[in-house]
């Protein structure tokens, strides 16, 4: 098991090194600090949500509504700001929307017992719908300078508030997942929910907490997006769930739950960011970039499967 994980991490490392080297050689501007910062900045909201999505997937669930929640939170902020609500209060309310939205998902999944796929698919449509109700077909802009600065200006050196938040959350998420009982329970529930129940773990509460956290962090990421772009529209963060889920699965987490680590998720983040950055600098259009990400998603699930298949055939041959 450990060997297999190591080999997947090795593969990720090799892939990352290849893409990085290719970018560095073919693009003179790639290795500059502004480009590296820019590379993180452009996807910072997505990679923040990746951290909670890892918990969701290790827990053997899925949350398709994260992109819509980001959009809802950003649009709610825009709308509240337009109504003259104090921006600080508005931020608080948006985070509350994230908690409530996550709680709706969690309650339907854990208590009503519906598959998270359907619940969060409905939420994907519903949250996006609410975002559109709030801003309709307008764009809202002219936020206070300090708010825009949170997303755009370096706080420590060239590091923005969003980037610092990401690295802080990365450490927090790593500690929770690797060093706490909650993290261990996440794995146990993900690999076998019945066993977890018998071991006395409150699986319903656990799942609810994870969905609430996902809603909260997605709402936070949506606010960061609003701050970075300095404007919101109804389609903010549309389709972000594809990139987010791809990164988590590329990081070696099993879609069936129970496995995955934040270290290889971190590697997967670097791969996707470098790939997108390289493609953008080579003038590859957004739709094609999305196609490449889609391809990567299939490959990241297919490649370990092939490896497993080879082992099984080898084993059966050995037995003959």
């Amino acid at each position: 098991m450990k060997k297999r994980l190591l080999s997947w991490e090795g593969l990720l490392l090799a892939a990352f090194a290849t893409i990085f080297a290719f970018n560095a050689i073919s693009l003179p501007q790639f290795l500059t600090i502004p480009n590296q910062i820019n590379m993180f900045q452009l996807s910072i909201e997505k990679v923040i949500v990746v951290l909670v999505m890892a918990f969701v997937i290790i827990n053997a669930e899925i949350d398709l509504s994260v992109g819509s929640m980001m959009g809802l939170s950003a649009c709610a902020f825009g709308w509240l700001f337009q109504q003259g609500v104090d921006p600080v209060v508005a931020i608080g309310l948006c985070l509350l929307i994230g908690v409530l939205g996550g709680a709706v998902n969690g309650l339907f999944v854990a208590w009503v017992g519906l598959p998270s796929l359907v619940v969060t698919l409905a939420a994907l449509i519903g949250f996006r719908g609410l975002a559109r109700v709030l801003v309709e077909d307008r764009g809202i802009t002219d936020f206070p300078d300090w708010f825009d600065a949170l997303g755009q200006q370096g706080l420590i050196g060239p590091m923005t508030f969003a980037m610092i938040s990401f690295f802080t959350l990365l450490v927090v998420a790593w500690i929770i997942l690797e060093k706490s009982a909650f993290g261990r329970h996440t794995y146990v529930i993900g690999s076998n929910r019945d066993v977890a129940e018998f071991a006395g773990i409150n699986t319903k509460r656990h799942k609810l907490i994870i969905f609430v956290a996902t809603g909260l962090v997605s709402a936070f990421a949506g606010l960061l997006y609003a701050a970075r772009v300095g404007a919101v529209r109804g389609d903010v963060a549309n389709g972000f769930e594809l990139d987010i889920i791809t990164i988590v699965l590329l990081g070696g987490a099993s879609i069936f739950g129970g496995s995955g680590t934040l270290v290889s998720t971190g590697l997967a983040i670097l791969i996707v960011l470098n790939l997108r950055n390289g493609m953008a600098l080579h003038n590859v259009t957004g739709h094609i970039q999305t196609g490449v990400i889609g391809f990567l998603l299939i490959a990241s699930v297919l490649v370990p499967r092939l490896d497993l298949l080879r082992r099984i055939t080898k084993k059966s041959k050995g037995q003959e």
């Binding site: 939420a123 519903g126 719908g129 889920i245 739709h287 196609g291 889609g294």
Partner: protein
Amino acid sequence: MKKGILTFSPQVLRILALVVVTALIVLFFASQIENYLNGRLFNRISSSVAVMALIATGQTLIILTRNIDLSVGSIVGFTAFATGSVIANNPDLSPVLLVGYAAILGGTFGVVNGLLVAYARIPSIIVTLATMALFRSALVEYSNAKSVTSQNLPAWLVDFPNQVVFSLGEFQFRAGFMAAILVVLTAHIALTRLRPARQFYAVGSNPEAATMAGIDSRRVILIAFILSGVMAGLAGFMFVARFGNITVVAGLGFELKSIAAAVVGGVSINGGSGTVIGALLGTVLVDLIDNSLVRWPVVSEFWREAVLGAMILIAVAADTIFIRRLAKMRAARAHEAAIAAEGAKT
């Protein structure tokens, strides 16, 4: 009363419930919107159902086998564009060949999905989330930043969906709608009467049992994806005929609408249960609410998506709770019958 409910099968109950809900919604909006119940409402909904019912039928087949197809919207977009540009370049092409081209093209996309799901054993949600993006970018590449416009299309194609087959007073039954209904009815008869088609239900309700009964579940899942692709291809044909102007965003979001139509129509997301007639009624219901909200002055039309999301959640939750109750009631009745039989013996 309790025993009365049990005499109907869950499928029949679902369809009855849908008809009642649809009727209530029509009555509600009729009381709210002036001049609501007229021929135009029927014509508008039937034209849009003509496209969506095909996709929802394909999606139903997929969901029956415990899978999901998020790529149908992209398949509709690609086939609509490809069909449009083929006929624009070869205006003399026979209609049958054109429909065949759309169906085969859609089916080819379905093969890709089906092989990855059934034979590479990747969960369908992952495969189709990825192919949704892949097929869409294939369309962007193929279209080369051009779009199909209705001026380039032959008249027979543009006129086809609006040709009136027959009309009852104000209600016009148009060719596009009738063709879609014909496909849905064929699918329904096949699924209820033909042995091979029953395999979709078998694989979805209990894969292990299906395998033990000698059903090749991989092949069944592959076929479900191919048929879903074919349906999306046919829908692409209907789409280009109906709208004429096709850009790279054609069919965007159709996957969500088709899933909504299927689950609102009582197709169980856990597989193995549901009917295409239900999905058709679900399509009508979703479209009815869509069309009515636009005309309802009380709320803005931007509520449509939010309402759709809530509808899916309510439909699935209500169905799950209802089916659980029903199973309990059946178990209780079986228990009573067993006790009665025991009593009769002694």
